[in-house]
């Protein structure tokens, strides 16, 4: 296929692939028959595969998630869809206490192979309860795999890997990425456990680490930095949990500088985990500057457009943070010269 496809369309391709080949895959959640909720990611799937396999549900996040867990215990591969990650807070028991724990507490005899698709959407004056990126919360829970595709190809391929994985997986896609486009290679099934952070752009002066939409920002920032003669390496984390930090550690070992970019809050957030994982492993003598976190301020998402514009990091925010660090260093070098 040579036509470029969008991130949202790529998700739909993954559904088609899975529903076509795996009769035990089904999707359940709110809004699956309506583009308001899930954009173009599921257009007409109910017409193609039937309303019995694409189930649009009552407003019951907790019971629907529990039902998906229950069906997974009976050999199905359900994908439960939460059109806003915010609403998933109501389903937290089934995600944290049930899906993630059944295997361990029942002695490995059963594995809920459920995929929980959580969609992040924010901005546009939607306010604090329609804007949250809660991946850090879920990445904290052992037993749950947490996946955040940034690229169009990963949007498709990581969904397939998630659904085929025997563990519960939270797959987090982002409405702000739906218009990204790429020409995709044919689908190759890959085990999720073999997937992890990837260098998506090589560089030598510093490492930018992101996940999901933050990776996209990092890529844009790297482009801007390159224009100014700074070479940034970009690592896309892709799988937040279980985290294999080796790729990030290697990159920072090479560049000596770490900038972790996160679309979640700063305190107790996932960017802190990246800093911790790196600083525990990298020889301090190799660090050429202090690691930096670029994350959301610890405030609920505002509704006002004026406040939104300062709330969400952009590529420029990243560039400024990088320049500030490098600038400080240059000034320091000049001063001591």
């Amino acid at each position: 296929m040579t036509r470029p496809v969008g991130y949202g369309e790529a998700i739909r391709e993954a559904f088609v692939y899975l529903l076509d080949r795996y009769p035990r895959v089904f999707a359940i959640g709110q809004g699956l028959w309506s583009p308001w909720y899930v954009g173009n990611t599921m257009t007409d799937l109910d017409k193609q595969f039937g309303k019995n396999r694409i189930i649009d549900t009552p407003v019951s996040e907790l019971a629907c998630t529990g039902a998906a867990v229950g069906a997974s215990l009976c050999g199905y591969r359900p994908i439960v869809i939460h059109p806003r990650m915010d609403f998933m807070v109501l389903a937290a028991d089934q995600v944290i206490n049930q899906a993630a724990k059944w295997r361990h507490m029942l002695g490995g005899q059963v594995s809920p192979a459920v995929t929980i698709r959580a969609i992040i959407n924010r901005g546009g004056e939607q306010g604090a309860q329609h804007s949250q990126a809660l991946h850090s919360w879920f990445a904290h829970v052992p037993g749950l795999r947490v996946v955040m595709p940034a690229s169009v190809q990963d949007a498709r391929d990581l969904l397939i890997s998630s659904v085929l994985c025997d563990d519960p997986v939270m797959y987090i896609d982002d409405r702000w990425l739906y218009d990204r486009e790429a020409v995709l290679p044919p689908i190759v099934e890959r085990p999720l456990a073999a997937e992890g952070p990837k260098v998506v752009r090589e560089g030598s002066d510093l490492t930018l680490v992101g996940a999901g939409h933050s990776t996209y920002l990092c890529e844009q920032a790297a482009e801007l930095l390159a224009a100014g003669g700074v070479s940034a390496e970009v690592v896309d984390v892709r799988v937040l949990s279980p985290l294999d930090a080796q790729q990030i550690i290697r990159s920072v070992g090479k560049t000596g500088r770490l900038f972790a970019v996160d679309g979640g809050w700063r305190t107790a957030g996932w960017s802190a985990e990246i800093l911790a994982a790196v600083t525990e492993a990298v020889d301090p003598a190799k660090l050429r500057s202090r690691p930096v976190r670029i994350a959301l301020a610890d405030a609920p998402a505002p509704t006002s457009k004026a406040l939104e514009s300062i709330y969400y990091p952009t590529a420029a925010t990243i560039v400024d943070a990088v320049r500030a660090t490098l600038g400080r260093q240059e000034a320091h070098v000049k001063a001591s010269a």
């Binding site: 089904f26 019995n52 549900t57 009552p58 019951s60 907790l62 019971a63 629907c64 998630t65 529990g66 039902a67 998906a68 867990v69 229950g70 069906a71 997974s72 215990l73 009976c74 050999g75 199905y76 359900p78 028991d93 089934q94 206490n97 049930q98 059944w102 295997r103 361990h104 507490m105 029942l106 002695g107 490995g108 005899q109 059963v110 594995s111 192979a113 052992p142 037993g143 795999r145 994985c165 025997d166 563990d167 085990p191 999720l192 456990a193 279980p242």
Partner: protein, 350 residues
């Protein structure tokens, strides 16, 4: 809630002075009745042994005993097949055993041994026995109700005539997920039986302080789910009502809810009666409910009807005691899980 507006809708069903007489066993086959009796005895004796293990400090896992409530699990499970999928809560020893789960496996689990039904990783509150149809129990109140709904959805998709069963207490009816689950089950016409063991208490608190009525089947009325409220200390009535609802579910007529009114002789957790911490829990009520004991009522009926002799009942009892005693000593001799299990069991794929 003002106390004077509270009313018992269960009436006699919640009154320990009623329903004490021997069960009506006319027309019942003796072998079948003895199977029910033996199952109730086994649960009772296992749980008494669990209480002893707790007192002796050998069992450390929180143990929620259902002594006095045996007829509910036994009556319902008598109508189930091992292809059905049963889920429980924190008080699930009875359901596990009533389905035919091994007393040794249960006791070993309670003692944290690797030979246990959850390989020593679960303890009393996390039981598993898929081969007999028990697909898991967890202590989060209400948590397995939607999971059973999912199992029913799976059964419907399979096109099989198996059903899902969720066991839970009256306290669980206060969780929102119960309502969501009834609604899902009815709008999707799922083959599921919701079984509420209404023992009138949730931990220390009488239902009077928690709900405007003591009849929890009213929630099923609201959701237009077929339901029955029965004396939970009468194993035959429980079985009959369960059969009616299970048959309907198997025949594609959608969910049912069985409310079985009962009482636990012991407290919420552990071997004590909880008279000191139970709000409204009085020793005279406990004593009175013991006169409504499901095992005694069936035994007396069998004797009165001359279906069995004292000696035969005694032998049954001795058998059960011997079986359980052997299970206890074998469980005590078990091993703890290897330390590697801590990390090895977190994910299925690596």
């Amino acid at each position: 809630m003002a106390r004077d507006t509270w009313r018992s809708d269960l009436g006699g069903l919640a009154d320990p002075a009623r329903f004490r007489e021997p069960l009506d066993i006319t027309g019942q086959d003796t072998a079948g009745l003895l199977r029910l009796l033996r199952s109730m005895w086994q649960i009772r004796v296992v749980e008494e042994q669990v209480a002893a293990l707790v007192v002796a400090g050998l069992a450390k896992t929180p143990c929620h005993l259902g002594i006095g409530q045996e007829a509910v699990a036994v009556g319902v499970c008598a109508e189930l097949r091992n292809t059905d999928r049963v889920f429980g809560g924190h008080r699930s020893h009875s359901q596990f055993l009533a389905l035919g789960g091994s007393p040794f496996g249960l006791l070993a689990e309670i003692l944290g041994r690797v030979e246990g039904v959850s390989h020593g990783m679960g303890g009393s509150m996390h039981l598993y026995g898929a081969s007999v149809g028990f697909h898991g129990s967890v202590p989060l109140v209400g948590a397995t109700i939607p999971i059973a709904v999912g199992a029913a959805l799976a059964a419907q998709m399979d096109g099989a005539d198996s059903i899902a069963v969720a066991f839970f207490g009256d306290g669980a009816c206060e969780e929102g997920v119960f309502h969501e689950s009834l609604n899902l089950a009815v709008v999707y016409n799922l083959p599921i039986l919701f079984v509420c063991e209404n023992n009138l208490f949730a931990s220390h608190l009488d239902i009077q302080f928690r709900q405007p009525s003591d009849r929890v089947a009213r929630y099923a009325d609201a959701h237009r789910v077929r339901n029955r409220t029965v004396d939970g200390n009468d194993v035959l009535t429980v079985q009959g009502a369960a059969k009616e609802l299970i048959d309907a579910a198997r025949a594609g007529q959608g969910p049912g809810l069985l409310e079985a009114v009962t009482y636990r002789f012991r407290g919420h957790v552990g071997p004590n009666e909880d008279i000191d911490v139970g709000v409204n829990r009085r020793m005279e009520d406990v004593e009175s409910w013991k006169r409504r004991c499901p095992i005694r009522r069936l035994s007396e009926a069998l004797l009165a009807g001359k279906a069995v002799t004292e000696a035969e009942l005694k032998r049954l009892q001795t058998d059960v005691h011997a079986e359980v005693a052997e299970a206890v000593s074998k469980a005590k001799a078990g091993q703890y899980p290897p330390t590697a299990a801590l990390l090895d069991l977190v994910y299925a794929n690596d």
